[in-house]
């Protein structure tokens, strides 16, 4: 079985520094070759041999799931790229500033041919430190991109004061306290920070710890998109939990952007981990619980209009 080609999705609002980051990834002396999929073909200054123009056409799958949208053009492009082997070590998909990252991500789980040959490595969102505040007011896409991210590059920090930076960081954390955040000037970041993240690999779900900048701050935000984290002591009954999580993601799928969990199932020596994108859930038993490890279950949901009381009550009812 050959190794699947990793795919990195690069999002961010217009002018945030996506292309700068892309060129940095392409030109660093790492000895790796990439195929780059861009939305605007012929866009200025992408320094790479293999650049493919995409149309960003999204369509709904006919599987009765309204949030299950995929990028048809991406399916075709990946099919084409994967036929000619050995040309590249990874694929980078750059989306437009206005794009919703979900259809791109879902393409890698929904399409059988694509998921047999490639794996989604991570969603990287580049954010403009100076203008994020404005964007959050007028562009729902900007909020979506932050909520969806595994890695956030908070860029152009040289253009803001320390206070402004603290504010923008708090705004990001209010939406997504789980992504890894890097503060940069001119998108200068170590490549290990953006490549080889394995963010969708169940084996890499090690812990779920939110990173709230200022304790207490997140309690006051009234943003439409936010996150809910739960910790449940003791064991969970899988026969109650699995039907609930399936039903919950099916009915609230359009509003749940991402979810992740590490669960302690009764009489199960291994940790059960899951992660999901909208309605698409992936879960499996992982490593053994260590003897000195506290057996408890943690999960996080990032999305819109999440009802904390309802989720807490439902999860509580699945305890063993």
């Amino acid at each position: 079985m050959t190794e699947k080609i990793p795919v990195t999705v690069l999002t961010g609002y217009l002018g945030a520094g996506k292309t700068t980051l892309l060129n940095r990834i392409l030109t660093e002396p790492h000895g790796k070759k990439f195929a780059v999929v861009v939305n605007e073909f012929g866009e200025v200054g992408i320094d790479n041999d293999l650049v493919v123009g995409a149309d960003e056409e999204v369509f709904e799958m006919n599987n009765g799931c309204i949030c299950c949208t995929v990028r048809g053009d991406l399916i075709r492009i990946i099919e084409g790229l994967m036929r000619r082997k050995g040309r590249f070590d990874g694929i980078i998909v750059e989306t437009t500033g206005l794009a919703d990252p979900a259809p791109v991500a879902q393409t890698f789980f929904v399409d059988q041919d694509v998921s047999e040959k490639t794996r989604l490595d991570a969603v990287i969102t580049v954010v403009d430190a100076k203008w994020l505040g404005e964007r959050l007011k007028d562009a729902p896409e900007a909020r979506n991109q932050i909520a969806f991210a595994d890695v956030i590059i908070l860029n152009k920090i040289d253009l803001v004061s320390a206070d402004e930076l603290a504010t923008v960081e708090a705004q990001i954390r209010a939406i997504n306290p789980y992504a890894t955040l890097h503060k940069t000037e001119r998108s200068a970041v170590n490549l290990e920070a953006v490549l080889g993240r394995n963010a969708f690999d169940l084996d890499r779900i090690l812990d779920i710890e939110p990173d709230f900048l200022e304790p207490g701050h997140h309690h006051h935000h009234s943003a439409e998109i936010g996150s809910i984290a739960l910790t449940v002591p003791g064991d969970i009954n899988p026969e109650k939990f699995m039907p609930w999580i399936n039903e919950f993601t099916q009915t609230h799928g359009p509003d749940i952007l991402r979810c992740k969990g590490i669960l302690s199932f009764k009489n199960e020596p291994k940790r059960f981990v899951f992660q999901g994108v909208h309605m698409i859930l992936d879960g499996d038993l992982q490593r053994d619980w260590k003897p000195d490890e506290l057996r408890q279950s943690k999960m996080v949901f990032i999305g819109r209009k999440l009802d904390r009381a309802m989720i807490e009550k439902a999860v509580e009812a699945t305890r063993a």
Binding site: F41, G53, F59, V70, G72, D73, I77, G80, R83, R84
Partner: protein
């Protein structure tokens, strides 16, 4: 794998050392030809292989083989015709945009697409273009007249390139991939993202759904008499009856070549009800529809990939094939 010697044709297969993913294969005149994903067009001649690179360093994305030429569309955005003697000419240049689909008619018309943009070139070289409602996935000329069928999101369209009239639309929600019309022009069939086939009877646009496949259907082949449509995508070749005026509606499909491996390519014999079947494990069988008799053409070899191209010559005496890992061969029937 054990097979009784009298049912095996393996001794009549000449291996061809190709070395790259075979995108498509066929015959130009009597000569087998293969289009490779890395950009090569390879002619198999008496004295060996002649390899050319019509697109330079660029990869070939789509290819169509006619009795007198091979057409290729590349990552360089060019559409190139290569003749049996190796002469090439450029039919189109989309300035570096990937050529997504490519087809040709029996009378010499050619069509290709890039994104939503379709170009039709008639046998005299006259060019017409059109924008589709969304990215074009598949192209197929109808058997009669100069009429092009193309598939896209939420259906397919039928276009007379020489007419100012808007194309006729065939609607069905979802993403339609490959498209094919029956040899008598009564039906158009598409394969869909959700592992189903969709068909329309053109006389009244009646919908036909053909489902139950475990994988996408990326190969379809009509029998020489037009009565049957063979399809890949399952662990048996699924063959739909199209003889009656309702097509396959209300009738179960025939199945043949059942093996514990998915079928990736099907090719009907040009003048008999015999189907060549290629599998994901690079096995090939011939299957006779009348009595389901099977003949072994190729034993699966580990590490040689799946059958990605399979085609008969026009006499039905030779069958050429290729795999995703660069194996290929030529069967000459005894």
């Amino acid at each position: 794998m054990s097979t009784a010697p009298h049912t095996s044709l393996t001794a009549h297969v000449m291996p061809i050392d190709i070395g790259e993913h075979v995108l498509r294969c066929g015959f130009v005149g009597p000569q087998p030809v293969l289009a490779l994903a890395d950009g090569q067009v390879v002619f198999v001649k008496e004295d060996g292989l002649t390899r050319t690179r019509p697109h330079g360093d660029a990869a070939i994305l789509v290819a169509h083989i006619r009795h007198d030429q091979i057409l290729t569309g590349g990552e360089d955005g060019r559409v190139i015709r290569t003749l049996a003697d190796g002469r090439i000419d450029e039919l189109g240049n989309e300035k570096g945009r990937w050529i997504d689909a490519l087809t040709a008619s029996a009378t010499g018309a050619v069509a290709w697409s890039t994104g939503k943009h379709i170009t039709a070139r008639d046998s005299k070289g006259e060019i017409r273009t059109r924008e589709a409602p969304s990215t074009v996935q598949g192209l197929s000329f109808l058997p009669k007249g100069y009429r092009l069928a193309y598939s896209h999101y939420n259906g397919a369209s039928l276009w007379f390139p020489n007419s100012e009239a808007n194309p006729e639309s065939l609607e069905w929600k979802g993403s339609h991939i490959d498209i094919s019309s029956s040899p008598d022009g009564r039906f158009v069939v598409t394969s869909m993202q959700e592992n189903t086939l969709h068909g329309w009877r053109l006389s009244d646009k009646k919908d036909m759904r053909m489902s139950g496949y475990p994988a996408k259907i990326r190969s379809m082949s009509w029998s020489h008499d037009g009565d049957w449509l063979a399809t890949s995508g399952a662990e048996a070749a699924v063959i739909w009856p199209f003889k009656d005026k309702d097509g396959p509606m209300g009738k179960p499909p025939r199945e043949c070549g059942v093996r514990p491996a998915k079928i990736t390519q099907v090719a009907f014999h040009p003048n008999a009800l015999v189907l060549a079947i290629g599998y994901e494990d690079n096995c090939i069988l011939l299957c006779r529809l009348t009595d389901a008799a099977e003949l072994l053409v190729r034993v699966p070899v580990k590490g040689q990939g799946s059958i990605t191209a399979l085609a008969w010559d026009k006499t039905g005496k030779k069958l050429v094939f290729g795999t995703s890992e660069g194996a290929a061969g030529l069967l000459t029937l005894p």
